[in-house]
Symmetry: C2
């Protein structure tokens, strides 16, 4: 089911604001409740609507919910992140596809040829930067989608990207950039919230 | 008001899913309704809760709602994006602060000294990449926060970053990376939605 919003938009209600923004946080422990493939697919069914530059959608996700997958991933994590991987009911390894421009016949049919020429002839490091930037923006939306599914997300950037890519993405054009634990919160799951940069530092007005 | 979620999380309801994900899109036109400073501050009051690596929160925002601001920004936009800037009730120039590590006494008090040493001694390009990656992830959350405020967001990466930085951020450590139009949707505001990368291309399972 979807709701036609017409021209009028409304504000998200307080429960939604708490769930996604004001009370949301990384879970410190997960309940012993499996995360189903339907739940993981449901995260993607929301996250895939994220905007991205030229609608290029470079974000890719490998969902891991097997013990074998956890054990292959854990050694590439920094410090205590390996334990978090082993204890997570499910995980997503978020990647970007450096060949996102091959998807333009699907993602931007009217400009597919123009965009393919434009991006496929760019220097490789420029294409990589664009792919990673847009995948990071989509990853922010992905984390909100995990929360919208009623699940807790634990994003971790501290891992050996090259090691993960060799382990999981050899022979593909996917490059890892974020690992996310996913599950139902367990006992005493929440750390105190860390402070935010004050508005007078983070904002300017013009 | 905030709602204590306790240990139990619930799914976002259908109205919230439509507003933020499944029916949300970039507005093609804006109504002649001003966006108040309170509304813009309200966006930030949600967006600031985004997760970020080491809680570093490198995202910064310059909110523009004056004609002078629009006219200073428009010449730096590519192609038709300049017209979009001039027609927008309000805008945000999203930036990252390359000196985010100076905020650790606020953002991570228990590890402030360790993190400051760690990040301030990194090569400049590594620090820049980390700042831009995390600011991009926070920008995804920022766009969802615009929608949660009942406003439409139009993100644009097509502009001359160096020109914008010289115009607005000279003498600071802020670097622009995204321009976002913000307003109430106008007449006939929605383009047809562009297709998404199919799940069989975007997802893998392990």
């Amino acid at each position: 089911m979807s709701v036609d919003l017409g021209y009028d938009l409304e504000q998200l209600d307080e429960r939604g604001r708490s769930l996604l923004f004001t009370e949301a946080r990384t879970a410190n422990s997960f309940a012993d409740i499996p995360v189903s493939d339907d739940e993981l697919q449901g995260i993607w069914d929301l996250a895939r609507w994220s905007p991205s530059g030229a609608n290029a959608q470079p974000l890719r996700a490998l969902f891991i919910r097997t013990q074998d997958g956890r054990e292959r991933l854990a050694p590439h994590m920094m410090e205590t992140n390996g334990d978090k991987v082993l204890a997570a009911p499910a995980l997503a390894i978020l990647a970007y596809d450096g060949r996102f421009y091959e998807q333009f016949p699907t993602t931007f049919p009217d400009r597919a040829e123009m965009y393919f020429q434009h991006f496929s002839s760019m220097p490789e490091d420029v294409v990589k930067d664009m792919a990673e930037y847009n995948a990071a923006l989509q990853s922010g939306v992905f984390l909100m989608a995990v929360r919208a599914q009623g699940l807790a997300a634990g994003p971790m950037g501290g891992f050996d990207r090259a090691g993960v890519d060799a382990e999981f993405f050899a022979g593909t054009t996917w490059k890892s950039h974020l690992v996310v634990t996913i599950g139902h919160p367990g006992d005493n799951p929440w750390f105190d919230r860390l402070p935010r940069v004050p508005a007078e530092t983070a904002l300017a007005w013009g």
